[in-house]
Amino acid sequence: MVEVTLWGSLGAAAGGQSKLDIEAKDIRELFRKLAEQYPALEPLIDRGIAVAIDGTIYRDTWSKELPEGAEIFLLPRLAGG
């Protein structure tokens, strides 16, 4: 079980919830379960979001494992210069 914080504009797509507990071992499973529970998140996930695992920002690499008890933040993917 990991605690996922939906951040910025993502919270609105999950019905205003910002913290969710999800049983997921990697990013792929996390995304799949999120999309099942909150269909409004699916297009956002498809467009690409960033995942912060214990403070380090990863992109949406499916195989990235989520350590038990890790702090997960989902952030919008950013533009840079």
């Binding site: 914080t5 951040w7 910025g8 504009s9 609105a12 205003g16 467009r47 912060a52 214990d54 403070g55 380090t56 920002i57 990863y58 992109r59 690499t61 990235k64 702090e71 933040f73 952030l75 919008p76 950013l78 533009a79 840079g80 210069g81």
Partner: protein, 754 residues
Amino acid sequence: MNFDPRYSNRSFSSVGTRPIRPDGVDKVTGRARYGADFNMAGQLVGRILRSPHAHAVIKKIDTSKAEKLAGVKAVITAKDLPDLTDGDAAMYDILDNCMARKKALYDGHAVAAVAAIDARTARQALKLIEVDYEVLPHVTDVDEAMKHHAPLINDAIFTEGLEEKPVKPSNVTKRTQYGHGDVHQGFAQADFVVERSFKTEQTHQGYIEPHACVASVNPDGTAELWVCTQGHFVYRQHCAQLLGMEASKLRVTSSEIGGGFGGKTHVWAEPVALALSRKAGRPVKLVMTREEVFRASGPTSATSIDVKIGAKKDGTITAAEATLRYSCGPYAGMWAEIGAMTAFACYKLENVKTVGYEVLVNRPKTAAYRAPSAPMAAFAVESAVDELAKEIGMDPVDFRIKNAAQEGTRASYGPVYGPIGIGPTLEAVKNHPHMKAPLGLNQGRGMACGFWFNFGGQTCTDLNIGMDGSVSLAVGTVDVGGSRASLSLVAAEELGIDYSHVKAIVADTSSLGYNDMTDGSRGTFSSSMATISAARNAIKVLRERAAQMWDIGVDDVAWEKGHAVAKGEKHGNLGKLSLKEIAAASGKTGGPIAGHSELVADGAGVSFATHICDIEVDPETGSTRVLRYTVVQDAGKAVHPTYVEGQYQGGAAQGIGWALNEEYIYGKDGRLQNPGFLDYRIPVCSDLPMIDTQILEIPNPNHPYGVRGVGETSIVPPLAAIANAVSNAVGVRMSHIPMSPPRILAALEAEREG
């Protein structure tokens, strides 16, 4: 592939040295080929017709006269770029921006284009295209655009992110919020509260090379595109999607790039050039004029920001809040959101809240500009932080040190920080001789901090070892300022050979796998990671070949300082095999030796900088002069320190220009008044002092060498550092960027009149 990206403390022999870049001689002899330096047989000249109106319905376009002009080979409008975006809203915006469909949304918006045998004919043809416009009311100011009565730019936009779904369309596309804790409670604990409003005007990246490309579409559907870009793989994807082509059939070659800073992350003219070439059946060269670059590429947001910060007497910040309104041009963006994420990232805050509003205006589509959105937020926050320090009676550096984020701090944008450099940059500034140098009359010193995320992303690298033992490194990351030198150093380091035996090139889209563009300070971070990975893969092959040559097991072969070494006493008589010797035998041991790497570079590691500057103000004219400037920034590990310094200096110079004189000036008619380098005033050589730099190296735990991105952060602090210096010099707090002489003089006069 089991590549371990974790940092390991080690000594270096190549990394950290300062050799001459591999592309250097071409660039000092005029041989390097940029966007406009390439030609194809039979090529036509492409030109774009642009809207003279800020906001207008395109009722009709009659191209018949232009088509009849001798020498005109193709004329296109939006009809020739049909909508193939399949519900992808972001791509649709790109398409509409490349060629206006129903409405022209800003002065300079493309409405038609021609390809002709020469520039004169093309220019004449543009004059023969008749466009029937119905001019609409327009809005160019970010605050005006948010008002209820403001002209509506897109009536299908309803503000996202509000608690209640809006019933009326709006120019505000989205509201976003970040933060944690309870700011009301936080402000209640504060002994001092500073609350201020700020504005910043729109600026342009100001790269010296205008957008340029040569497009050639064949009747069989294959195509080539030569173009100056920060990301040729991204350009390929976008162009292929907009033109309905298979990506693999479009080969994109990135030319040398004459500056981008975010402005060449986005397609504008390239799909138009391809569409012209497709219609004309000949190659088309399309080069923007400087005026077109200003009117119709992607400047940064204009902003309006409110900041409120509270602190206790002892200097502890108890709460921080900001509302940020960023202009996006006429299409939805996420610029205010980035501002809301970065605004307070330097500080350790119990209670913080930021709200961003994305605002549509009749200006060109906003694009990224070096740490996009962060400089404006930092200007507002760091100005208020300085004022708060003053009210408390604390030294501004000490005040920041007291509140600086550190490892374990929850960032205002969410996650918890790992090892970071804000504290060390502040300590370095506190102890810097610059802080103790005397100042004269009307002179002031200011300092400010800045933050940027840094990106990683998809990266592809090929490392090929020639039969003579020299190494070709093919990377997919466009080199905007010396990364071929850095990556050659990394390859030399990993292989244990001399830098002079490595030659790095940027490969085209048909020669290498997909690679993200050079943005988010990711170039050296990502590609060095992929280069290390590719080199390690090559070393594996080299060890296998050496094992064959010795006829021993590969596990008994180690790689040390450019040589295969046989391990163990039983092989004591085998000596070493150099990379050169192994390469020479490669034809007999299994063929060419190479290492490849395809990876997603993650964990870029955030970046912080603190700047100091001295300013002199002429109180009679409001004129300013930058007397001294110092940049202190964390690089993680500086691979080629000279180019790291160059990034620090260049970012600071752009920030100085932004702070003092650069701005888009729109007339009442909604047209851009200053689309040229004469009146869009970027700093000239005599405007600036030497820019001193201090590189700190706080290793990034997620990179084998500890590298962090360095390209962008240096543009974040200057706006605030200069505003603070002006305030300290002449006692007026400037709340509007740029701090041009008329604005400073007006502020001084207002102060004198009390």
